[in-house]
């Protein structure tokens, strides 16, 4: 163990992964409190694996070892417990917490400014809810960053994937609508991200996308796309944090800072102000080698001013010679790169729709078989019909003549007799009494469904109890409804973003 520490000292770690675990307000009531206990978005199980395990295993595969996990203070014990229950992981996870409440959530930029002292190298910013497809490897995104940052002056790389279309029949409108993906403008040959639509831009002018001429003259062949979704995976240089420190009014990285950062490369005022921070010309940069390289391609931006000048001053008044200092960097591009991923389904599980969809996606590749452990098998009755595209967690008890189709059942659940569960997601510790019927529902932890109740396309808060014989359709069931008296209050006012 001592040798391993010395080995780590010899070679510094290249990247630090920063994972932001927020409250998940859009996933309520699943992330609402269960009694006094908070339900974390990061620990919400998708196909019976906690959500945060997906980005963590993705990081492990890519070879990044250091992780900084930032979460609200009240979530810290639960997250800490979860992290420490996986001692074999190769990752070295440092959990830092921030005081915030679900009502006054702190923006991601503020968090980064606060913890900038702990980030001393190039970092990868990840959300806790991104599920990468197996065909996308973080290494490919990292390689793009590594290559372009040395040869081109790239400052950050982002990853975008094609947003999947929502199925209206499956998800009722009462569950809330999700914001459509923002429009982006990007340049295919150089994979540069040029423009991201922000909510401010939409407020100002919702019908037109306003683009700068300086951007179009640099990249005349850019593409506009409106079905790409941001994975919130950003690989950034350390100097990006220095720039962030200067912009105090930015709150959200994805909505405000990133669109601003894309504009630095082509808006002259911004470039002049921030170029010296963003371009690091240390003595270890490869500028000399790049000057000697036979295949280096200078960006068009450098060419344009030169050509323009020589044409206009062919026979005009004498001009001052341009000093050619051999020691300056070959004009870094300061651009934001883009990795477009098209194969495979990726999702950010930050709203109910994508939660359900990712569960369904994992079901398509699931094949259920009875558990081999005899104690576990004893819990599942012989006469129960469980179709092959379901996932059933461990220690779940299923009684006779129950049929379960196309569903995800969590751990330690108790399913009674003659229950019909179709297309639903049940989280851990649910109790479904005899004769109940569930169709397209999402039941939070510890939900109790009474006998012969029928739920169609409902979501329940953890700990909710459905009365026996109840018939509920297309609703969000929250515990606050009990106190309100009226069962069946559907609230859909917490959805906008």
């Amino acid at each position: 163990m001592l040798e391993m520490d010395i080995q780590r000292d010899l070679v510094p770690q290249e990247f630090l992964a920063v994972i932001l675990a927020g409250f998940g307000n859009e996933l309520s009531p699943l992330t609402s409190d269960h009694g006094d206990e908070p339900c974390l978005k990061a620990l919400l199980p998708v196909a019976n694996t906690p959500l945060i395990d997906y980005p963590l295993s993705w990081l492990e595969q890519s070879g990044i070892k250091d992780v900084l996990l930032i979460c609200p203070a009240i979530h810290r014990p639960a997250l800490s417990h979860h992290i420490h229950s996986h001692p074999n992981s190769l990752l070295h996870i440092d959990i830092q917490s921030y005081e915030e409440t679900p009502d006054s959530a702190v923006g991601t930029c503020t968090l980064l400014r606060h913890f900038a002292g702990r980030i001393s190298r190039d970092f990868v910013l990840l959300p806790c809810d991104f599920i990468p497809p197996p065909s996308l490897s973080l290494i490919s995104i990292l390689n793009k960053f590594r290559t372009d940052t040395v040869s081109d002056g790239l400052i950050a790389t982002t990853c975008w994937f094609t947003a999947s279309k929502t199925d209206k029949t499956v998800i009722p409108d009462e569950w809330g609508h999700i914001a459509p993906p923002v429009s982006i403008v990007w340049d295919k040959p150089s994979t540069t991200l040029l423009y991201v639509d922000t909510p401010d831009d939409l407020d100002r002018n919702s019908e037109e996308v306003e683009l700068r001429m300086s951007m179009l003259s640099r990249y005349p062949r850019s593409s506009l796309s409106s079905n790409q979704q941001d994975s919130h995976v950003y690989v950034c240089k350390r100097s990006v944090l220095d720039v962030l420190q200067e912009k105090h009014h930015f709150d959200s990285f994805r909505e405000e800072f990133l669109p601003w950062l894309c504009k630095v490369q082509y808006q002259r005022a911004k470039r002049e102000k921030y170029e010296h921070i963003l371009s690091s010309s240390t003595n270890t940069s490869q500028s000399q080698a790049l000057r000697h390289s036979t295949l280096s391609s200078k960006s068009k931006a450098q060419q344009a001013p030169h050509v323009h000048k020589s044409k206009s001053t062919a026979t005009s008044a004498p001009q001052s010679p341009i000093p050619s200092d051999p020691n300056i960097d070959p004009h870094p591009s300061l651009r934001v790169g883009l990795h477009m991923h098209r194969n495979g389904i990726a999702a950010r599980v930050n709203n109910i729709h994508s939660f359900l969809e990712m569960n369904r996606h994992f079901l398509t590749s699931a094949s259920y078989s009875l558990p081999t452990d005899p104690t576990q098998r004893a819990l599942i009755d012989q006469k129960a019909q469980i179709s092959s595209d379901t996932i059933v967690g461990e220690s779940t008890q299923v009684d006779e003549r129950t049929s379960i189709k196309k569903s995800v059942i969590g751990k330690h659940c108790t399913i009674g007799k003659m229950v019909k569960i179709v297309g639903s997601v049940l989280l851990d510790h649910c109790v479904v009494a005899d004769g109940a019927k569930l169709d397209g529902c999402i039941l939070g932890k510890n939900t109790v469904v009474g006998a012969k109740a029928e739920l169609v396309r409902c979501i329940t808060q953890p700990g909710y109890e459905v009365d026996p014989g109840e018939n509920v359709k297309n609703e969000k069931l929250e515990i606050s409804d009990w106190t309100a008296g009226a069962v069946g209050d559907s609230d859909s006012d917490s959805e906008d973003e």
Partner: protein, 454 residues
């Protein structure tokens, strides 16, 4: 081929694969035999590649590789080559899938310097600078003997500064073992150039000669200083001396022919221009790298110079260098106009042969035929003690994913060797920082300089 298909098509026999033996010519019979043999091979290969062609055909929106193979399959089926193309299609898809695996009819030529596919994982602890540098090499962002050597040395400076000697060890012994995996990581990205090899050998010599009693930081600083001195003395200043020597050979009115892009030749031409000489340049270029375009850009975008005052008269600024750009096949028509040929080199060997970008040998030999003097500009640190007789023993292929061939056909594999060997008989003189020498006398340089080795 087309005629053959027409003879087979119209008869429309129920079993077109078995026309009577007598009606076919010998060539057609052999074709049939080949077809049957290939069909058998395809049968064997079908279970292996059963998934990939089907999956690729099912996803029309996927990348270029499956699109290419399905497009090629349609083309081939329309040419009615039947099972023969199908069997070639499956090796084609296998090749598209994984560039590293051997195909059933693998070409034996140049197979000894095909790069093994650079693994995505990083084995052991490789310094981030070296990881990034290896990517620059494998993506051909940093290309060229001088550029690669400078980049390697700068990266090693960072590695040395971040290094700490473990206890019970000395810097002079342990740093070498620490650098070895870094070097092999670089070599796995792209084979090492002679310049890199010489520089690393010199670095190892310096490391082993470092004083044991010196404090660690001082020893590291001294090593970095030595690296800087090496770059300065043997590359930068050597280049300046070569510029002066070569510029003396350029007169007003010369037509200089150069091939592809060499950093030293570019410097020579630009410094001659700055000295005020009026000459024109012919840039000869070739695929796949098309480095000549970058040289053309560099030569024609010289910064504008102001009017100069000289002996009470105002002289206009000199015009930019007049350049001609042509591809290699146009060389014979341009060589008659050239007065001098200036070339760069990747390395120079003891028998006087110059190892340089593929196509240089053609230029040199053609110039010799037309009695045009050939000057090779080469720093002394590019010398190699080995003897090289041809460009086949040791070479490198350009990776096909970076430089795709323009004509894509399933039975066509493109090989792009990057280097070739120019025999010493085609070279008039080599311009080094120690002077102009005939190519075969490089081995006398260390003795002339009073050194043991180069």
């Amino acid at each position: 081929m087309a005629a053959h298909s027409q003879t087979n098509g119209p008869p429309a026999t129920p079993t077109p694969s078995h026309p009577t033996q007598k009606s076919m010519t010998k060539a057609e019979r052999r074709e049939l035999q080949e077809k049957q043999r290939a069909a058998k091979l395809a049968q064997k290969q079908q279970p292996q590649n059963a998934d990939s062609p089907n999956k690729q055909k099912a996803k029309p929106k996927s990348d270029a590789a499956p699109r290419r193979s399905t497009g090629a399959a349609e083309k081939q089926s329309s040419a009615a080559d039947g099972s023969k193309s199908h069997s070639k299609d499956t090796p084609g898809t296998a090749m598209d899938n994984d560039a590293g695996t051997s195909i059933s009819r693998s070409l034996r030529i140049f197979s000894h310097f095909v790069l093994t596919k650079h693994g995505h994982g990083v084995k052991g602890d490789i310094h981030p600078c070296i990881i990034r540098l290896a990517l620059q090499f494998s993506e051909f962002r940093i290309c060229g003997a001088n550029a690669r050597c400078i980049a390697t040395l700068i990266a090693f400076k960072t590695v040395i500064q971040d290094y700490t000697t473990p206890p019970n060890n000395t810097l002079s012994r342990h740093l070498m073992t620490h650098l070895s995996p870094q070097i092999s990581h670089l070599v796995s990205a792209r084979p090492m150039s002679v310049t890199m090899g010489n520089a690393i050998r010199q670095l190892k010599l310096e490391i082993s000669g470092s004083d044991i009693d010196m404090p660690e930081q001082d020893a590291k600083d001294l090593l970095c200083q030595k690296i800087d001195d090496y770059i300065r003395d043997r590359i930068i200043i050597a280049d300046e001396v070569i510029q002066d020597l070569a510029c003396k050979k350029i007169k007003d009115g010369d037509v200089i022919l150069t091939y592809a892009r060499s950093s030293i030749v570019e410097k020579v031409l630009l410094s001659a221009y700055k000295q005020g000489k009026r000459f024109s340049v012919i840039v000869v270029d070739s695929r796949p790298l098309l480095e000549g375009k970058a040289l053309l850009q560099a030569l024609t975008s010289t910064p504008p110079v102001s009017w100069t005052l000289s002996s009470a008269s105002l002289l206009p600024p000199p015009p930019p260098i007049p350049c001609t750009y042509a591809l290699l096949p146009a060389l014979p028509s341009l060589i008659t106009e050239a007065t001098t040929v200036i070339l760069g080199a990747h390395s120079l060997h003891s028998n006087g042969a110059v190892f340089s970008r593929a196509g240089t040998a053609l230029v040199a030999m053609m110039a010799k035929q037309h009695s045009v003097p050939v000057l090779v500009c080469c720093e002394t640190y590019k010398f190699s003690e080995t003897v090289m007789l041809d460009g086949f023993g040791k070479n490198e292929l350009a990776p096909s994913h970076l430089f795709p061939a323009p004509a894509q056909a399933p039975n066509l594999e493109t090989l792009n060797p990057l280097y070739d060997l120019t025999p010493p008989s085609s070279i008039t003189a080599v311009v080094t920082e120690v002077g102009l020498i005939p190519p075969s006398s490089i081995s006398s340089i260390p003795m002339a300089l009073g050194r043991m080795n180069l």
